[in-house]
């Protein structure tokens, strides 16, 4: 168990609760319709279009969260643009940040 300024975290207690909750869930599931068998329902109906092959059903990585990126376009455009991949730019960032830090420490960071 670990303690923080306003609480504690006990993983063993959490695991016990999770196991009990799982057992309750399993019990409820086991009380379900026993006559139902896999494959009883008919195949999915997709607007009369031919059924896609299995590999085409898989959602590829670049399609995931596209709405999130579209919504944050104003953030992503300049941020991605800043990642030029050019090492000269990396060093410019370094020089700039060093200068800013030195100025802050010299002006503000006095004892």
């Amino acid at each position: 168990m670990i303690e923080s300024p306003s609480g504690f975290w006990g993983p063993v207690a959490w695991i016990i609760v999770a196991v009990v909750a799982s057992l309750v869930g399993y019990y409820i599931w086991s009380r379900g319709e026993k006559a139902h068998k896999k494959g009883m329902q008919s195949e999915e109906f997709l607007m009369a279009n031919p059924r896609l092959t299995e590999e085409k059903v898989h959602v590829r990585a670049h399609n995931i969260y596209w709405g999130f990126f579209e919504g944050l376009k104003k953030y992503y455009d300049p941020t991605v643009r800043a990642h030029t991949g050019i090492i000269n730019d990396y060093i410019i960032w370094f020089v700039a940040l060093t200068a800013i830090t030195a100025i802050i420490l010299l002006i503000v960071g006095v004892r």
Binding site: P11, E55, R60, A61, F94, T98, T101, A102, L105, V110
Partner: protein
């Protein structure tokens, strides 16, 4: 007068870092037996690997600033050579070149800062220097140079851009080692702030500088991770993001170091959270890089767009990935949650907004790893991967070691915090004990 000029100074913080290095190095060495099997020049690979390990241990255990520079150079040169080791791939040379250029620039700046201190005090021993530090204008410049050079080496934003370029192309085991190498640089940054300048420094300003670097790293790191489709670039951006948590926790401790009441109320807890996150991150990010390497080993590329259904054939790798992903996302009961919990609760008392942003970042991390898992492991078995097999045994053992450590840390976080994290926090805070250990006075 310094009793011994060039020394190793071992305290709870340096031992803490050495434990991380030893554990990850062991797992990576076993993993690499299979991962590097088909490569030529294996004797050179393991020679460089041992040099990298020696450099990291040296950085963590030295009590001498110049030797810190020397060991940093050893680790950097070995790390760059290992990154570019597989010359059959076109992008490895670029990754290695970027790593050696930024490492060399950082090391030169560190050497320059050491020169500034040596010119004033005729000392390079950390404890002896701390004992006489006057905090002159030159000292402040030296601090700025040291802090930002180490910040670049640890991959803090906006000095992080080399991280995805390098981690993505290095052999998987070496990516895990570079994470630990970056953490050794973070340790050096903490050592400079707490031990070298500790008593004489205006901690509030420097603490906030570290916090701002941490917040930027967390947020920009995770938001840049989520659009990535190269699995190792995605993980590399997450490594940057997770470094932000460590900087945030320790930065809060640094900011309140001059305020004994705040330090006792939440400062130490924030620091312990940040330091606990270092070891947790080394384990789960190491594990995640190794799982990415297992995927690369079997499918021959890192492109998530072209992966899918690999969980059918690589069941153990999938389980290891799930363990690492849940842990990095801070899902209970994994160890990542334990350290983030300590950070959230203590940082909240310092500034609630920082804590809320940290939680948001954790949420986006979960979204990002859900995407990676869905893309690589779930879905129908794709025809091009019908013949894919589980990763070789040595690779599974390497991943298994880190997974076992994660599970142990998850179930017994109190044991780890009380026995290795809290002593490390105390060692950082207690500058006098470090100085007295060198100067020959009982702490």
């Amino acid at each position: 007068m310094v009793p011994v000029r060039i020394i190793l100074e071992v305290d709870a913080m340096s031992v803490f870092m050495a434990i991380i290095t030893a554990t990850v190095s062991l797992a990576v060495a076993i993993y690499s037996l299979a991962f590097m099997k088909g490569e030529t020049g294996q004797s050179r690979f393991y020679t460089l690997f041992l040099l990298l390990v020696a450099g990291m241990f040296g950085m963590e255990l030295t009590g001498d600033l110049f030797n810190l520079f020397v060991f940093l150079e050893i680790a950097s040169i070995a790390g760059a050579a290992l990154t570019a080791f597989r010359t059959k791939f076109t992008d490895t040379a670029e990754g290695g070149l970027k790593y050696i250029v930024i490492s060399t620039v950082a090391a030169l700046i560190i050497l320059f800062a050491i020169g500034i201190l040596y010119a004033q005090y005729n000392l390079i021993n950390i404890g002896a220097l701390a004992n006489v530090m006057q905090y002159t204008m030159l000292d402040k410049i030296a601090l700025a140079l040291l802090a930002i050079a180490f910040a670049m080496k640890l991959g803090a934003i906006p000095l992080h851009m080399w991280v995805p370029d390098t981690y993505a192309v290095a052999p998987a085991g070496i990516s895990a080692m570079l994470v630990v190498s970056s953490q050794a640089c973070m340790y050096a940054l903490y050592r400079v702030c707490f031990t070298l300048f500790g008593i004489t420094l205006n901690m509030y300003t420097v603490g906030w500088l570290v916090i701002i670097l941490g917040m930027l790293s967390m947020f920009v790191g995770v938001t840049m991770a989520i659009p990535q489709t190269d699995i190792k670039r995605l993980m590399a951006y997450h490594a940057i993001s997770q470094s932000g948590y460590m900087l945030l926790g320790v930065g809060v401790g640094l900011a309140v170091l001059g305020n004994p009441e705040a330090l006792a109320t939440y400062g130490r807890a924030a620091m312990s959270g940040g330091i606990f996150h270092i070891i947790n991150h080394a384990m789960y990010k190491g594990l995640l890089f190794l799982t990415a390497g297992a995927l690369f080993y079997r499918v021959g590329h890192r492109d998530l767009n072209r992966m899918g259904g690999l969980g059918h054939k690589m069941k153990l790798t999938s389980i290891f990935f799930i363990i690492g992903a849940l842990s990095i996302s801070g899902i209970p009961p994994f160890n990542g949650f334990a350290s983030k919990f300590m950070i959230y609760e203590s940082v909240y008392q310092f500034n609630p907004i920082l804590s809320v942003i940290a939680m948001l970042v954790s949420l986006i991390t979960l979204a990002s790893f859900t995407k990676a898992f869905q893309s690589a492991f779930t879905g129908p078995q794709l025809p091009e991967y019908k013949d894919v097999k589980e990763a070789p045994r040595a690779m599974l053992i390497g991943m298994g070691i880190l997974a076992a450590v994660i599970i142990f840390f998850s179930i017994f976080p109190g044991l780890i915090v009380h026995h290795i994290v809290d002593p490390a926090t105390n060692a950082l805070v207690n500058q006098a004990a470090y100085v007295n250990g060198i100067m020959g006075v009982a702490p």
